[in-house]
């Protein structure tokens, strides 16, 4: 009798201990989640409220955590500045052109490496991947010499589209390579029996089927080019071709930093990215891990 009671209370105590452990676990987990989300979004919040502060509130000490009198004047000034809208347009045009070009070239290569067998296939894939890891600063010098001399492209879209292909091609090929490989093989067989050539199969069957993959890789490419700063800084000189990442730094000149306008411009440049991320997070994660993990 006594022994049984002992056993029961032992079991109870063990259960209690487990419950306590589980509670701590849940608490720790929630705390970690809150911290991660806070740390991730705090700079965005600070930028947003800084962009909404008027000239007076901007420099109050200590800085206010909520804008007391939200004010859109920073945004008006940003859009009225002579360089912001042109550079924004440059970025959009350069990013879409580069994305299209690298899709055009990359789809062919991804198809060949995914579904055809040929000598040198692994070499092609590792070459494509290693390009992504080059220090781009080392290309800037020779490209500058080339684009200001023999092949005069300095300060044109071409001067950025050409090197930006290096940012998008590896990503496009690796991602589509893994996407094409997962497509069923019977499809191709059936199409070939029906007399379709490989290219025709690629154009009329594989690409339409892989449309979701092509779409996500287009988004990833667009983001990659949109985010370039180094090439934009060194290979263009004014709003004729400068991307917005460089345009934005003009609000932060050597003598004075226009904090409100810098913040407003940052918000304008990043909000499209935030929306893309929220809408397409699953696809982006899939693309990110497919493109980068198969070393």
């Amino acid at each position: 009798m006594l022994a049984q009671q002992d056993r029961v209370s032992y079991a109870q105590r063990a259960k209690q201990k487990r419950d306590v452990a589980r509670l701590w676990d849940a608490l720790g987990r929630s705390l970690a989640v809150v911290l991660v989300v806070f740390f991730s979004l705090a700079p965005l919040y600070w930028t947003l409220i800084t962009s909404l502060k008027g000239p007076l509130e901007m420099f109050t000490s200590p800085p206010t955590l909520f804008p007391h009198a939200p004010d859109l004047s920073n945004y008006f000034q940003v859009f009225q500045s002579p360089f912001f809208l042109p550079t924004l347009r440059n970025s959009a045009l350069i990013a879409s052109t580069t994305t299209l070009l690298s899709l055009l070239v990359g789809i062919l290569c991804a198809y060949a490496t995914a579904r055809l067998r040929f000598a040198g296939r692994p070499a092609v894939l590792s070459l494509v991947l290693s390009i992504n890891m080059f220090p781009f600063i080392a290309m800037v010098g020779p490209l500058f010499v080339l684009f200001t001399g023999p092949l005069y492209l300095y300060n044109t879209y071409g001067a950025l589209i050409i090197p930006d292909l290096l940012l998008t091609l590896p990503l496009t090929i690796w991602f589509l390579n893994s996407f094409f490989r997962e497509m069923p093989g019977d499809l191709e067989e059936a199409a070939r029996i029906d007399g379709a050539s490989r290219l025709r199969f690629l154009r009329s069957i594989l690409i339409p089927l892989a449309a979701p993959g092509v779409f996500s890789v287009a988004i990833l490419s667009f983001i990659a080019v949109w985010n370039d700063f180094l090439f934009g800084l060194t290979l263009t000189s004014d709003e004729q071709a400068q991307p917005v990442t460089v345009g934005i730094t003009r609000f932060n000149s050597e003598h004075v930093i226009a904090y409100g306008q810098l913040a407003a411009a940052s918000i304008v440049v990043t909000i499209p990215l935030v929306i893309l991320v929220l809408l397409l997070q699953r696809r982006i994660v899939a693309g990110l891990t497919a493109g980068a993990v198969k070393g």
Partner: protein, 311 residues
């Protein structure tokens, strides 16, 4: 997603290869025609400028019509420049600390997200936000918090007496390094976390079940199952992050400016903010960044080979 070095081709491939050729392009040559445009682009835009940078780095002034070859003089000039030595030190410290912390934190976030819980999607969206931002814009956003006039971080640090009144983090080289580290960790931990999470998700749960039946506690499971199973993934992240950190540019361009450059921003300053005679030494610096990257890749890739062999 696991590392696949050997691509498995669809099974019908052999059959297809023997099927009668119908296209105008001969079937056997077709793959080469398909990869040719990519190879040409990579050759013209990647390999050629990369190799050309070696050539440019031994000229006296590549921007004039007939430059002279000066051998390794540009390298000697750069290597003996105290600013370069400082930039090298800054970059190496930045690389070691940022890569270690990002992998550690990324592993933590990956473990956190590896279990289903309410709000997991929200966490994933939140950590993807910094990843998607242009680095240079992220740097400007953090500058809004680091600066001395409207910055919240400066205000907090001054309140805690970690900074003298009127001082900022960006006033000292350690401060610039710290500011760059924080911003880089904020921006790239998600990348590490998502890659490691992809690795965690392919570890079979039966391993953990068997281990807990055998009485292994969580700590033992972490050391004996998770880490060994994740080893190749960890090495991939290590390689990617290290090569990315060694070429860090945007952060030091914004936070360090002329006074606390990284190797890449030092190279950029030399090329575009110095005299014409500084251009080639700038290129030489960039070549050095490339060579450091090559050494790191060789070491890490040989480590990867070994783990794959052992596995």
């Amino acid at each position: 997603m696991a590392i696949r070095t050997e691509q498995t081709a669809p099974e019908n491939m052999e059959q297809a290869a023997f099927a009668p050729r119908r296209g105008r392009v001969s079937g056997r040559l077709l793959p080469y025609f398909l990869v040719l445009p990519t190879l040409l682009v990579i050759l013209a835009v990647g390999i050629y400028p990369m190799l050309d940078s070696f050539w440019v780095s031994i000229l006296d002034n590549p921007l004039v019509f007939h430059p002279n070859i000066v051998g390794l003089a540009n390298y000697f000039q750069v290597l003996s420049d105290p600013v370069f030595q400082e930039a090298l030190r800054t970059t190496l410290i930045f690389t070691v600390i940022s890569v270690c912390l990002e992998m550690l934190l990324g592993f933590g976030v990956a473990l956190l997200m590896n279990r289903a819980f309410a709000g997991r999607g929200a966490v994933r969206a939140a950590i993807l936000v910094p990843w998607a931002f242009p680095t240079v814009v992220s740097a400007q956003m953090w500058l809004l918090m680091y600066n001395d006039q409207v910055g919240i971080i400066t205000t907090l640090l001054q309140r805690m007496h970690l900074l003298a009144p009127g001082a900022t983090m960006l006033g000292s080289s350690q401060g610039v390094l710290l500011a760059s580290l924080i911003t880089d960790i904020w921006k790239t931990t998600p990348f590490a976390a998502l890659l490691l999470l992809a690795g965690l998700q392919v570890i079979p749960s039966s391993l953990y079940e068997a281990a807990s039946i055998d009485g292994a506690n969580r700590w033992q499971q972490l050391w004996r199952i998770t880490l060994p199973m994740l080893k190749s993934q960890l090495l991939v992240v290590l390689l990617f992050r290290t090569l990315d950190a060694i070429r860090v540019f945007d952060l030091f361009y914004v936070f360090g400016g002329q006074s606390v450059p990284s190797l890449a921003s030092y190279a950029n300053l030399k090329m575009f903010a110095g005299t014409p005679g500084d251009f080639a030494p700038g290129v030489a610096t960039a070549v050095l960044v490339f060579l450091i990257g090559v050494v790191i890749s060789l070491v890490l890739v040989s480590m990867m080979r070994e783990t794959i062999k052992r596995a």
